[in-house]
Symmetry: D3
Subunit: 290 residues, 6 copies
């Protein structure tokens, strides 16, 4: 860095001057670029068409990779009828259907997500395999044993009564059917501010220890087939969320108003430390007994 | 998001209330988490020990991946003697030597990088293969035909006279020896502020079009064996640098002083737009003729 | 099949006679050879030296594969000091040390296993990495934080107090250290005869539901990093055990006496049905908190 | 093992008692579970849906793997018309057709296999590619040069006149066409009882040395393209057959009558020793000259 | 070698005689078979159907491999419309379309190649994806921005005005579209005879240094995305061409007349030395700016 | 081709003229370059250091690939003592030892090959694993059961009495030891000239049908474990030998004299047609019984 350089002009520096710049500011580059090698990183395979060029792109790729991982873990097949509990705007449901040939029914409590899902399904030409409807995970409208498998990606953390949700998914699954569930669990003792940031930002009840969930799983008639700790990815997502919030704060204010960003300004720091220090993120693959 | 939630308390929300929260704020999650699937991303393979948990970790991984890519492109072998022009703090030189068995000599114009390299070499137990010395790329102190191969990673952008640098590397290489070079090239016409941000932040002369470099390569007695455009990775590095600068501004101020961050506050926005809109980043593998 | 064929002679059969033989006895071949294709199976890659040629060989291969799977799951490294709780005759400890470079200390309550381990370690030339000593998993003689990682393969099912065993392993592990545990869990309600066959054959307390273990894990200061259901392999092992017992009954009687085989004759059938209908077999990868 | 344990009760054993149990009975576990590591084996990849859970399942998998190996060796293609000599109940013919797109015509001397093949073809929806008919390998009803390739899996051992079979397949193949043949060959000198067990159980003539077959192959106008010794898999199949016979003897008696099992009781022991000591099992890939 | 052996007879040689033959003529085998091991080489995977059995077959395989490499470098996709400049007899265009689903339009200045392409397209059933027309690369008849990508394989060396060709391809490509170009470049100073052999055999202008082409690329509005030196393959092709010319000289004379072979007899030796000593062969992947 | 082009000059051709050149001479390029795509082939992976640039280089690569294939087929291990019958100049013996750790003893009847092998062993630093001595395959000087495995690459075709050679290798091998043998076999009926070219060029007895060899194998106490037809590679080697002979005839004359090339001029054409039409080339993996 050469901070005495006048804006708009440039005089070639001598090697000695460049050496001094690195002597003085070498650590700066390490702090903002990484210090493993202090050169540009290889963020994606060189030569890829449609390579990501910013952090939002990279986050999209990470989401797609996660969706594929979850599909590869549940492995629905052609002939299956799969329930997607809390399907969001339909992306994972469509991808699961198109990669595997399974039929997928999604439910969400958001009317706007139902509408956006319908659009995405149409655009993807997936209308014969995927449908999305308004539905409450704790009180599903489907008959017993309707589905051969199910998943709930990041939706159980929102439920006020997870036991009820587990009971309902168990009821609508056929015996032997697999249920893939991701959930948030509490580690250690966070502060009140940290907890409030989480419940506020996610419209969710406070996180609980993993053991409570495991007990509810057994009582709902499920065996655990696999459990995978995915906490590092949740921590990365928390960091990315904090950085992108600050970076896009003006856009967010223009879209959601001054009150919202003022509210978020207070909650982002404790939320970031909560995710870093006190949240676990787990995948559970369950099999309905019988 | 439930912005009317009191800090420190939590009342379980009804499914209707959660649905409304997503109706109102669903786009917010997409803006800060990615909107491909609106769930947590898979940033690294689940279950990795030492998984990255923040953006600096991820940048370190990207640098290591780039170093490995460059080693795989140059492919030094046991028996080679390789020159590392602008070797920084020695990380890539050590990795190249330990992965391939080649002997590596690094030069840098920074006295503190010479010192830090010596420490790293000692810690890695690489003293029999790697050495680093003070040296100027445009006036090397080595005899003709001393080296069998060479690389210059992100150091030629600093040179006030690239032709001189190419000539010197050509001189100290044996005939037929390979030289791997990464460089920055200009695309289109940036503003004065954008250019000044670059020359200031990197203590470097202004970037030039690729064709100028290609001409100098030929005149220095090299043939081009391979050229790879790596611009997307440079754009990602620019974005990461801008976000980490804002995130770690307080640390940087504590380390480098108020004047430096004030100076950087002005230059980061035009630097970010320059990288996004006007810089190309290329790898060139050259072979010395004869 | 041609059951009217005289022993010691053979008259060539007509195609019609062979056809009739298959009409009458085709199902027999399917019952004893498998009926997917009714031809010889490919049990191992053709052309392998040292290919398995009987069921004991095949079981040995399955054990080696499991050991490798467990090593790949725990992934000890050079520099680690690993505890093997219930190390048997030392095979897995030696393999883990030789494949990874980690130092391994095994404990067992069997004096003869200590002796046999010492012989195996010597024969494998692994004395600088592996040692085995007499030791009780519920009352380990090692100082706090002695080990960087640990495993217990099929030994916790023997413990009269698993909570004590978990507490001891937690105590001797460093914070953040991984502990790989395999365990048996109860599914449904077996008969008294089935339970007694298990406790007798394995000198073990009766199996319990998985939830009890999960609670004890949390109370011992561990987080669950991964859980994998391996029940199908346990069922295969149970079947193989039952068939090999019947096949090698004479050898077993010669080695252990008439009373033992008489006792086993009564217990093998309920043991086989217990394994088929009521036992789960799980892998748990745990991380010590802190 | 704790043989003094009362059925129906259980008192927790001390570590010393468990240690003594292993001191006394450790070898027993090795005899019935394998003694490479004395823990449960990994019989299949953990987490597989539809994993095999008994020896019949495992034998089915081995048969499917062999069928795939044979397809990969012969490599029929779309456009080929393939003859399956001794096609059994049609499984391999269907699999070959569906994996490669080749048309397959099977022949068998068993009327019930013709019928069962038709059912399987229908269930697999393979009627446009596969057909099965009654036919004698030594007197085929097809015109010269009807087929582009052929296989005979475990059917030539039944033929009273292999030279006639080779001649017929050669006749109905086009010049240059490949013929994949598996056959049994004699090694050493078995006893009369051993030979009689083989000819009786398989309704087959006695096995002959490999050299006789090689001479007949040349005289029938074939060149040998490849020969692979698959004896270890045949020995595994023989062991599995002996163990499953004993295990399922009651089912077999219920299905085939007391006389059959009485007859088999006498022949299984010499059959098992014959397979272990005196049978080779080979694959021959032949090409019709011209 | 035993040169005193009478034609038509053979007396078995003693080991001593064979030893002497190798003492005298061992080097001969190395000169005509390769001397790395002096045994038969593995030219293709043993057991391949349709394996190459002469040098023309091997050259065909090398061409197919190159076509696949070029497809993998340009990576057209379903939805693309690709221009093939100088499409020859249509083979690469058909392969690109059938492997990727892209639509391909080829142009050539040879009326007979247009006709042969049409036949090949019909035979391959590729009429809905591929079409070929008469067209001049320096004056294309297509509207601006007609194509999403393009390639020119070994056709630009024929152009009297490469700058015009680059301009035309740039004009008919959409902004951001990729253009894959292979070209010949001059290295060092060949003799007049060498240059004349090249211009005569290929009906092409003399080769130029690479830098001239790079300048023209920039002026035509392209950025270089990748450059790969493929000179060794060009040298192999030159050697193969020289050897096959001599080997097939009689066929060539029968087909093209005595004057042609007389003309070629003079030009093949300087052409071969030109390719060995003075020609570079490069792949350039370009992206149209904007 | 533009045959009216004056040597030493060049006038740029119009597109029409180039089109006519391809109309007239397009087939020529296909005849000497391959006509699959009529562009340059990809003979090796682009970017390889030390890539082959002529047919001798390519033949060397093919030999190395074959040596590796044979090593992978025999799979000697550390601890084995392997016999190399007819070891040539030692290349394969050295490679087998260095890749596997096995000890290798080579024998040859050529004194000059013994000398050259010693030099190669020294240069490769392989003196502790490899030794080569003068020795006759039909009368080996080693004690019974000296070796654990053996190979004979392209040396048995030279033996006047293959049965004696098989007997000797069987004698010096341990029971169960593997012997990898390559051999030439006769297909159809060649002319006297063709046979004489073979016996003369290779100082070998005339080739025989494969069946004779198979009988001798059995009588020497070997079982066949694998047989692989490698005829296409032998045909490629024959073509390459014929083309390189013509191409390097002057060098060969300078080295071996006019009489030799005159003798070879007569024998190369019938040798080439013999290899193309009448020779099979097989690999046999044998196991010594007992």
């Amino acid at each position: 860095m050469t901070t005495d350089q006048a804006a708009g002009g440039h005089t070639a520096l001598t090697p000695e001057e460049i050496g001094e710049a690195y002597d003085d500011y070498g650590d700066f580059y390490g702090m903002v670029l990484g210090d493993s090698a202090i050169h540009m990183g290889m963020w994606v395979a060189h030569g890829e068409r449609d390579a990501p060029v910013n952090l939002v792109d990279l986050a999209d790729l990470a989401q797609d990779r996660q969706t594929d991982y979850l599909i590869d873990t549940l492995r629905p097949r052609s002939g299956d009828h799969m329930l997607d509990v809390g399907c969001g705007t339909g992306g994972p449901a469509i991808r699961a259907a198109q990669r595997t040939g399974a039929r997928v029914t999604g439910v969400t409590v958001s009317r706007s997500q139902v509408a956006e899902s319908a659009e995405r399904i149409g655009a993807a030409g997936a209308g014969d395999l995927v449908e999305v409807a308004y539905g409450n995970a704790m009180d599903l409208s489907y008959a017993d044993a309707t589905f051969t498998c199910a998943w709930a990606i990041d939706s159980f953390p929102h439920l006020s009564d997870r036991a009820a949700g587990l009971g309902e998914v168990s009821r609508v699954l056929q015996a032997g059917g697999l249920f893939l569930l991701t959930d948030i669990a509490l580690r250690g003792t966070p502060s009140d501010d940290e907890l409030a940031s989480y419940t506020g930002i996610w419209s969710a009840p406070p996180p609980r220890p993993l053991t409570e969930l495991v007990g509810e799983i057994g009582r709902a008639g499920f065996d655990i087939v696999r459990l995978v700790d995915m906490t590092p990815s949740a921590r990365m997502s928390g960091e990315v969320m904090a950085l992108l919030y600050r970076d896009r704060r003006d856009e967010i204010e223009a879209r959601f108003g001054e009150l919202t960003v003022s509210w978020l300004d207070d909650r982002m720091p404790p939320y970031r430390s909560l995710v870093r220090d006190h949240l676990d993120y787990v995948l559970l693959l369950l099999r309905k007994r019988g």
